[in-house]
């Protein structure tokens, strides 16, 4: 058994492999000089497919894929993601590529800029715009954050047709069929940049993760504030007490242990560095009631940051946790965040990490 870690950076993609999740061999760069803001490894196929959301710099964005772990790359002639003509919109960046569950083989979701959700039924070769969200009357009020206005999180529920998305800005929305009836699910999450500090929608939710034990329990790292919902997003409660700061970008949850999640706090939006310059991962095992700092193997004097998709977990037991930084370092933990080892350093800014067990 081999664990694969796909590392999307601002200037290419690297693939790391390990048999013990402690020592890693690095293969790359692939797609050199291209920005890889989204990456996924679809293990539901006979051979794993690496999907990458590529920004070619001068030449625009697209989705490309490899069925031989980076040996060759393919893309759809006219682009896997194309806004329909009547929208008058153009794809700016692919922010998220999310294979659905094993029960829906071939289905892959994409979250994009401008704010849009896309569904593929052919493994990511071509996507269709989810009109129900695109045509939502709230869309004109969803403002771009510093990185652009995008659907950056897509969470299909394996046990139902419900899909939850998160946007910066816009907040959390859910649909019971993944197509229609999108309703805001951000009540209780703050929006310090709006006149109404707790609006129904419009929040700058940075990332959302679903708890292993209950699809209605989710965790959100917000633009100030860490939150938990136990009712599918209808109400959120703060869980940041015990953290050194409530700002940050990623939140990830264990796929096997209920109540377990990790965040990487930063000081504040105007000071996007780890508190005291110490890169740390904080873990909860009780749904956010308490947090424990993980320091072993993580650096001091690290005036860097961790972006929203530069943190992920794997499906191993115990859960592996991976963190990538804007100064090009990647750290792996094979023991649920107790200790970390260095996977790679001196890479370009790490934008996206995804782990898969091959």
């Amino acid at each position: 058994m081999t664990d694969l870690l796909a590392i999307g950076t601002r200037k290419g993609l690297w693939l790391a492999r390990s048999d013990d999740r402690r020592t890693w061999s690095i293969d790359g760069p692939h797609l050199l000089a291209q920005e890889i803001a989204a990456v996924s490894v679809d293990t539901r196929r006979p051979v794993p497919r690496v999907l990458a959301g590529v920004q070619f710099g001068h030449w625009g964005p697209t989705v490309t894929w490899s069925d031989d772990l980076g040996g060759s790359w393919h893309e759809t002639d006219h682009g896997a993601i194309r806004f329909p003509e009547d929208t008058g919109a153009a794809l700016a960046r692919v922010w998220q590529l999310r294979p659905d569950s094993a029960g829906r083989p071939g289905v892959v979701w994409a979250g994009c800029e401008p704010h849009s959700l896309w569904r593929s039924a052919d493994g990511g070769c071509s996507f269709q715009l989810v009109r129900g969200l695109w045509d939502h009357p709230h869309r004109r009020e969803w403002q771009p954050g510093a990185g652009g206005g995008a659907v950056h999180t897509v969470l299909p529920d394996p046990s139902s047709d419900r899909v939850v998305v998160a946007m910066s800005t816009g907040g959390v929305y859910a649909s019971d069929d993944g197509e229609t009836g999108w309703t805001p699910r951000s009540r209780g999450i703050s929006a310090v940049f709006l006149p109404d500090p707790e609006p129904e929608y419009g929040q700058c939710v940075h990332k959302v993760a679903v708890d292993a034990g209950d699809p209605d329990r989710m965790y959100a790292q917000n633009h100030f504030g860490v939150y938990r919902t136990d009712d599918g997003g209808r109400s959120w409660s703060p869980i940041a007490e015990g953290l050194p700061a409530d700002f940050g970008f990623p939140v990830v949850s264990s796929p096997r242990t209920p109540g377990t999640a990790w965040v990487t706090p930063l000081v504040a939006d105007m000071q996007r560095v780890p508190p005291k310059g110490r890169l740390r991962v904080h873990r909860t095992r009780d749904g956010g009631r308490t947090w424990t700092e993980s320091a072993a193997g993580l650096p001091d004097d690290a005036w860097t940051s961790v972006l929203r998709d530069a943190m992920c977990v794997d499906e191993g037991d115990p859960t592996g946790v991976y963190v990538g930084t804007r100064d090009g370092c990647v750290y792996a933990s094979a023991d649920e965040g107790e200790t970390f080892t260095l996977v790679a350093e001196h890479l370009p800014d790490v934008l996206a990490l995804r782990a898969a067990r091959l």
Binding site: H58, W59, G79, R82, L91
Partner: protein, 93 residues
């Protein structure tokens, strides 16, 4: 009429490896030329234009040495025997 398209090396693979393309052009504008190129090399077109048909921001196109931004963009006239050069702008990091 026929025109010559000159591509940067980074895009040659999307046109069968050639940097110089001879294109028989049914129309008379840059838009007509790009539409014709899109039929033959759709991935190349995707690099030059977004799905609205707009030239990408950092793609510069010169018709006989003239920047099409000052010649009507896609409406820029392309004469028989013209040389149409595609260059990446100074951008990136």
């Amino acid at each position: 009429m026929s025109v010559e398209v000159v591509l940067p090396g980074a895009l040659a693979d999307l046109a069968g490896g050639a940097r110089h393309l001879a294109v028989d052009l049914p129309g008379a504008t840059l838009g007509d030329l790009l539409d014709e190129l899109a039929v033959r090399h759709p991935l190349l077109d995707r690099r030059l234009r977004d799905e609205t048909g707009t030239l990408r921001r950092f793609v510069n196109v010169y018709v006989d040495g003239e920047d099409v931004r000052y010649e009507g963009m896609l409406a820029a006239a392309v004469r028989d025997g013209a040389v149409v050069q595609v260059l990446p702008s100074v951008a990136g990091g």
